[in-house]
């Protein structure tokens, strides 16, 4: 067998040892570094590990005369550079180089210099890839092999230049050059292949779990829009179980289990008290609790026959306060996958964010209520004093009628003082408007006509309280306030397909967009309908200048009457 092949097979054979070692170890978490590469203790580990591989490369090399060693040191240094940049590569190369000098021999210095250089070059490849392909990218096997071929040729050059004590440095380079260049290139290429594979696997897993988290988020978004609503949680738990594929999923608030879905549902009843000390620990500390089923077991406190053995409990927090937990279970004999572990934690923070969003919506709703109160307070004095003036005038002519007006006024204010949060029926709304209209009709008796046409089947229709009165008041402001002659206001309620339309119309046609306080009042009414009923419902304004202004309230028909 020619010397080249003998050397090559020996080198490749030696290298297979740490190739196999690395293949196994590459699954270890310590090699799962982020795009920035290893840091801190991980960095030290990388240095030790690759220095070990590189030095082994010296020992497993083939001893030739004059202390020459045909070796595979390049592999460890180069790969260290790929994984951690010039600093790690240089450090690994230099350490193994110093060791090589300590071993002695005529080509020791040349070998040490070459290994250090190769570590640095590996690091430069990483930096170059970061700029051209993206931070944290690893070289493909072709690039890895190509770079190694070049650096090993340089290595041979260094042997020729830096080995003054060797009788025939040129001959040495001729002998060890071809097998070393080939073996090291193959080694680095194989390492690169394994690393790239691992990276791709990890990305795939991450992409998978991100996709699942996103899907779970999308599906639960609507359910949690109104906050941590116990009625919606069983559905949320079902979705989470589906997306994680876990044995069981449980949702709790800070005091009790609110929903449980999956294995063990026969004895894990919802609603029910929190009995697990794991759950209590998560709620008390606000930190994730993980019982992996190996070192720590779930130990169901309810039933000895419970199949569940491992659990991840992630707290849900709102403004720093734990309001509940998300729990993901796996049964005995089933590994708790790391994907589900990170998915569970991710979902908990996602649900927390949704709860925060729901809280924000709620506050926004409250703000609308406050604003509405404010507007009501602003509108009222004028109406009140004019009404009182009217009563004073009527008292002179017809005391009994004045008494009636005062009662209407009382009814109007009584309804106005009610907290405007809930829904009211159209009937109640019309009563409120009716009391208001009685006063206005007395004030403008000679020139105001009000026509009401309401489909009686709509009287139980629900709409936000205080929807109609501000609109009718606006109709007067836009209508009567602009006509010198008589005016007519119409209030209609009718059906149109699946919607109920309530129209308030005046015959002045003098509506102008956002005219001061009126605009605000209208916007608030619209906002409240959207908040309380849904974003597709609300107000529309149509105006034919000089003829009519029509404000239409669109709300859904009650179920079963459409």
């Amino acid at each position: 067998m020619p010397l080249f092949l003998t050397l090559l097979t020996s080198l490749v054979g030696a290298m297979s040892f740490f190739m196999a070692l690395f293949y196994v170890l590459s699954r270890a978490r310590v090699f799962e570094t982020g795009p920035d590469g290893p840091h801190g203790r991980t960095l030290v580990f990388h240095w030790l590990f690759f220095t070990g591989i590189t030095i082994t490369g010296s020992y497993l090399g083939i001893q030739l005369p004059d202390g020459v060693i045909a070796n595979t040191r390049a592999v460890g240094a180069m790969v260290a550079g790929f994984m951690g940049g010039p600093l790690l590569g240089g450090a690994v190369g230099a350490t193994a180089g110093v060791h090589r000098i300590w071993l002695g021999g005529t080509t020791a210095v040349a070998g040490a210099a070459a290994t250090t250089m190769e570590g640095l070059v590996g690091g430069l490849v990483r930096l170059w890839l970061a700029r051209t392909e993206g931070v944290g990218r690893l070289p493909g096997w072709r690039l890895a092999a190509g770079v190694t071929v070049v650096t090993e040729i340089v290595h041979m050059g260094l042997v020729i230049i830096l080995s003054p004590h060797n009788p025939d440095p040129l001959g040495v380079a001729e002998t060890i050059g071809p097998p070393m260049i080939t073996a090291n290139a193959i080694g680095v290429a194989l390492f690169a292949l394994v690393m790239r594979d691992r990276q791709r696997d990890r990305e795939q897993v991450q992409a998978d779990s991100s996709a699942r988290a996103l899907r779970a988020a999308r599906r639960t978004l609507g359910l949690l829009a109104r906050g941590y609503d116990a009625a919606r949680l069983p559905e949320v738990a079902r979705i989470l179980k589906e997306e994680t594929g876990a044995g069981a999923v449980c949702l709790t608030d800070a005091d009790q289990v609110l929903a449980f879905e999956g294995l063990g549902a026969d004895h894990h009843r919802a609603p029910g008290p929190i009995v697990s000390h794991h759950t209590r620990r998560a709620i008390e500390t606000g930190e994730v609790v993980f019982a992996d089923g190996q070192t720590e077991h779930y130990d169901c406190p309810i039933s000895k026959d419970c199949p569940l053995d491992s659990v991840l409990i992630a707290p849900l927090s709102l403004d720093g306060v734990v309001v509940g937990t998300v729990q993901v279970f796996e049964p005995r004999h089933r590994r708790f996958s790391s994907v589900n572990r990170s998915l569970g934690e991710g979902l908990a923070s996602l649900l927390s964010a949704q709860l925060l969003a729901a809280r924000y919506q709620e506050t926004k709703g409250l703000l609308t209520e406050q604003e509405l109160k404010l507007v009501q307070a602003q509108v009222n004095p004028h109406f009140l004093f004019n009404a009182l003036n009217t009563v004073a005038a009527v008292l002179r002519i017809d005391p009994e009628r004045a008494r009636g007006l005062l009662l209407h006024l009382a009814a109007f204010f009584r309804k106005n003082l009610k907290r405007p949060s809930a829904l009211a029926t159209l009937r109640e709304e019309l009563e409120h408007v009716g009391a208001y209209l009685e006063i206005e009709k007395a004030r403008f008796a000679d020139r105001l006509t009000v026509v009401t046409e309401v489909d009686p089947s709509l009287l139980d229709l629900k709409l936000p309280a205080f929807t109609l009165q501000p609109l009718v008041e606006n109709a007067f402001k836009h209508g009567l306030a602009h006509t010198l002659g008589p005016g007519t206001a119409r209030i209609r309620a009718r059906r149109e397909e699946a919607a109920a339309l309530i129209e308030i119309e005046d015959d002045a046609g003098a509506y102008r967009e956002a005219s001061g306080g009126d605009g605000l009042g209208m916007r608030l009414v619209d906002k409240r309908i959207k908040n309380l009923i849904g974003p597709t419902w609300g107000l529309a304004v149509a105006c034919v200048p000089g003829e009519l202004t029509r404000v239409t309230v669109r709300v859904p028909l009650p179920e079963g009457t459409a």
Binding site: H382, A393, R396, A442, R443, F444
Partner: protein
């Protein structure tokens, strides 16, 4: 006797005030009007001592009505309103007094006493210290009229200033000319000149400079302008230079 005109768009409020004034005595309500447009001719016709004026009224507010009255016709003004948000403005308008609805008898008596002292004092005008037409009445004079109320045979029209081409005064009254026609108005030529930005081009004519199409220079009689809709408006010699300047010629 104090001669008064009452203006309020609510019939009951009007009746109530008239009744209160009657009870108080010493006041003769010579006209009771449902809006500002009705009030314009009433004030010119009756030349009352006092105007009891609601602020919020359809189409033309109480404040706008004041801007439309000729300073020579201007009576003392007492604003009557339901809510005091207008109080400050009322006094900027040099109101003689200010009443809140529902009106108290004693408060009204005080107002009338104050008015009684003033009537027969300095000539009728707004406020206590400022004589009508004096520069101090800037609160009124600065007020720009945006729409001119015009009386049709059976309707009232508010003509936008931009629509006005010219205004002409004759024995029969003041007429606002638009592309569509001529409309009678109760506003005087002087009020329109001072508070609308229409240009005085002739003793009896105002013209809207924005609507002038061309100037026709005639003989020594002076010139005339043609408006966009083809109306011819005479221009006196003495206003010609100023008009040319205004048109940038």
């Amino acid at each position: 006797m104090i001669r008064a005109v009452v203006v309020d768009d609510e019939a009951l409020a009007r009746e109530e005030l008239v009744a209160l004034l009657h009870e108080a005595g010493g006041v003769e309500v010579v006209a009771s009007c449902a809006n500002a447009v009705e009030a314009l001719p009433a004030v010119r016709r009756e030349r009352p001592d006092v105007l009891f004026l609601d602020v919020q009224m359809p189409a033309v507010s109480g404040f706008e009505l004041l801007a439309m009255l000729d300073p020579d016709d201007l009576p003392r003004v007492v604003f009557v309103t339901a809510h005091d948000e207008f109080a400050v403005r009322a006094f900027e308008q040099n109101a003689a007094d200010y009443l809140l609805k529902p009106v108290e008898r004693t408060r009204l008596a005080r107002t009338l006493e104050r008015l009684g002292r003033a009537v027969g004092g300095p000539p009728a005008g707004v406020g206590t210290a400022v004589a009508a037409g004096a520069p101090g009445a800037a609160g009124l004079a600065a007020k720009v009229i945006a729409r001119i109320p015009c009386q049709g045979t059976r309707s009232i029209r508010l003509v936008d200033l931009a629509e006005v081409e010219a205004v002409r005064s004759s024995e029969a009254g003041v007429y606002v000319m638009t592309a569509g026609g001529e409309h009678f108005t109760e506003l005087t030529l002087r009020v329109l000149e001072e508070r609308t930005g229409l240009f005085r081009c002739h003793k009896q004519h105002l013209v809207n400079v924005d609507r002038v199409e061309e100037i026709l220079l005639g003989d020594d009689e002076g010139a005339s302008v043609r408006t966009r809709s083809g109306r011819t408006v005479p221009v006196s010699r003495r206003f010609l230079a100023a008009l040319k300047e205004r048109l940038g010629l």
